[in-house]
Amino acid sequence: MVLLGIAIIVAGFLLRFHPLLVILASAIVTGLAAGLDPLAILAAFGKAFNDARYVSIIWIVLPVVGLLEANGLQERARGLIAKMRGATVGRFLTFYLILRQALAAVGLTSVAGHPQTVRPLVAPIAEAAAERQAGDLEEAERDEIRAWAAATDNIGLFFGEDIFLAIGSILLIKGLLEQYGINLEPLQLSVWAIPTAIAALLIHGFRLWRLDRRLARRRRQP
């Protein structure tokens, strides 16, 4: 019965209902199915929301991003890339991927991110490079390049952060295994994140290289 909430989430997202209402419906149904009374569900939800406030503080960077964009940050990025020979979307995003993985691997996960670096710096530079490679972009193509920038940030973060000893997921693994009587040091766990980190770099880097080839082909046959 408690799985009804999951069914509601999946169906609600697939049918594109308002996500906030879908989440509310799922919480109510799950809670009721588990025999909680409505006020207890509301209180549990409220407590969790308050505990998770740190997720939303990242929006304080928007005034800085807005100020810079109003003063021509994206135009400036375009001008800078125009002067660099050999700068392509693929090469630039691969460089950013390595940088993001390296920073995350030493525990600096919040130094970069979508509001902090992708919107003001990475996306405009990637767009400017793509324009130079393929000529003027249509809106859908421009969106695609921006999506590549955001995707590269996520992949760099996910497959870098577990190399760091004191990241949440490593501590969670350590804590859970202790319950089964298996004691491990964080270092024993985090070294096993390295093979996947290398694989992520190779796979995503290869896809970015193919993106460059696609943009170059588009230029040759307009």
């Binding site: 999951i6 549990a44 109003a70 992949i155 298996i182 996947t196």
Partner: protein
Amino acid sequence: MITLHWVYALAGAVFAAFALLGVRDRDNPRRWTTAAFWALLATSMWAGDRLGDLGNGVLVLGLIALGALGLGRGDGVVPPEQRKARADRFGNRLFAVALIIPVTALGGTFLFKAAPDWFDAKQATLIALALGVLIAMTAGCIWLRAGALVPLQQGRRLMDCIGWAAILPQMLASLGAVFALAGVGDVVGGIVQQAIPQGSLLGAVIAYALGMALFTMIMGNAFAAFPVMTAAIGVPLLIRTYHGDPAVVCAIGMLAGFCGTLMTPMAANFNLVPAALLELKDKHGVIKRQVGTALPLLIVNIALIYWLAFR
């Protein structure tokens, strides 16, 4: 001591400014609901700890109601010609200001950890990030000769573009807490256990990694999937029956879950919010770019567990 509460106070002030400026935005057809939404979020940042659990629940209901009614956005975009002229005038100063935030976050993380009496060392990066925002805002206003209201107005414009999607990550995290309370994980674990093919090591490895990815896609979070899948398959089968190395099984199993995170709208802060932030037409645009990396990487993770854990 400077703790995360100082950052919450700053965030509350920023959201309150968005609300106040929003009320005066006559271009926005829904300026009252929009302003009320940001005002409620400011209240949560400022007074969340004093509202009590039920009070916070009512506040969330208010946010959901306003978000469902619909938020709007005004105009206020600076025309391209003007931006071009300013870009030529300010040059690389723009990059210098943009880099203040990551550089302060980086330096502050190390500095604040060295002074645990003054700063909450566990939250060093977030505190440093907030400090970086303040420095960048001040430096930006001075260097770019902008009034103090310009960053807040432009920030509000971006915030209104994102709209209610801004609280989606926080909402999904809260839903996860309700799921945990209701014992959803145990039920899913039981189902998975029945679905594993008997006597096949490779089958068990695939079930574990695939289960991590799929359950992460449903919950939007590998942290929620990990205890369930590890209790159902990881510990009883891979570690106890087949004597796999627990470090390899769990570390790479978690990363198999991260592959799921790349492919689900439930991981809103990584997948849906950036799409809104970058003003993409297709809100699943970021996920579509990620699937091509996530699927091969999931196969790599299955192979890595199979080869490395059972030597």
